[in-house]
């Protein structure tokens, strides 16, 4: 049986991912950012809608996570708090569908390229590999 490589979608705000995307992501790759995580940069995570997060699962994601500013110092005041609320709503939606809530998560990180940005991606990757493919793909373990 071939190794399961999860399809992970990350939604990051402009500030938490700005350095990460410098040099076309070269720095990210060198720092060990998992290649199976695709980044979707937003002006602010407060812009994210519940439907956009659900759509990521519809489009084949095994896990989704959001990286926004620290809760008490969002560049747009409450953007990352709003994002966290929407992540909670998707957790609830997954629970209603009897799917692991851990397939979506929220991180609050400082701006710039920090080890925590890489660590978050690796944590989601490891957690998702342990959970297996998304049950929405009809091929769960």
């Amino acid at each position: 049986m071939s190794e399961f490589i999860p399809d992970i979608r990350a939604f990051c705000c402009h500030y938490t991912s700005q350095q990460a995307c410098a040099d076309n992501g070269k720095g990210l790759k060198e720092a060990g950012f998992p290649e199976n995580v695709s980044l979707d940069r937003l002006t602010c995570t407060g812009k994210l809608q519940v439907s956009a997060l659900l759509a990521a699962f519809e489009n084949g994601a095994d896990a989704v996570y959001v990286v926004g500013c620290p809760a008490d110092s969002c560049h747009n005041v409450k953007g990352s708090l709003r994002a966290a609320k929407r992540v909670s709503a998707v957790k609830k939606a997954l629970a209603e569908l009897a799917v692991e809530e851990g397939r979506i998560s929220m991180y609050h990180l400082d701006r710039g390229l920090h080890p925590e940005f890489i660590a978050a991606a690796r944590e989601v990757d490891a957690k998702t590999r342990a959970m297996g493919p998304s049950p929405f793909k009809g091929e769960s373990k």
């Binding site: 809608q49 439907s51 659900l54 519809e58 939606a93 209603e96 569908l97 799917v99 929405f136 009809g138």
Partner: protein, 222 residues
Amino acid sequence: MIIAEKKPVAEILEMVREYKRILVLGCRGCVTVCSAGGEREVEILASMLRLGRKKENNPVEIIEGTLVRQCDKEYIDSMDQWNGTYDAVVSMACGVGVNFIANLRKDSMVFPAVNTSFFGGSVEQGVWTEQCAGCGNCILHHTGGLCPVARCAKSLMNGPCGGSQGGKCEINSTVDCIWQMIHDKLDATGRKERMNFVAPIRDWTPAGHGGPRTFVRDDLTV
């Protein structure tokens, strides 16, 4: 406005299990304002239904739409635009909308996506409370504008009862005693003698106890 809350998606999935093409239909009236059944909620429910059906390996085609209101015949008629594209309708409107679709679309099966809860208002963002019971015989002029029918657990016409403690209701310490509030309001507006008014035994016929209510405005009918 009418306050509603989305039903658990598992309940909705069970209702429509046998249907392959579903029209998820929102309403731009009250349920949009209380974030239960507007355009955004249609998008979310449609996504959840598709995901739920993918998980069950029972694919479904979802058509998304919203009507200006689902409580007027003229807007229900506009459902003609989806004729032949769906096998069942999941209405995100209040129970009035579901009934109107059932009344007017003779060949369509319609299912409710929300629980219609109460007449209320938004006291802060994301929080709604019941304010009116639609009882058909308003007595707010006696009670400082505060409704004991909707907001007293016993719907007392002469309160408070002995369960009022420290301004709170005996059913739950987080619930304000509306009769305490009525007293305070009348006092604050210099009308506390109104508390001496004894409300007579009430005729509940206008509250629906005489069967479904109909209201005809002769000046508006053609």
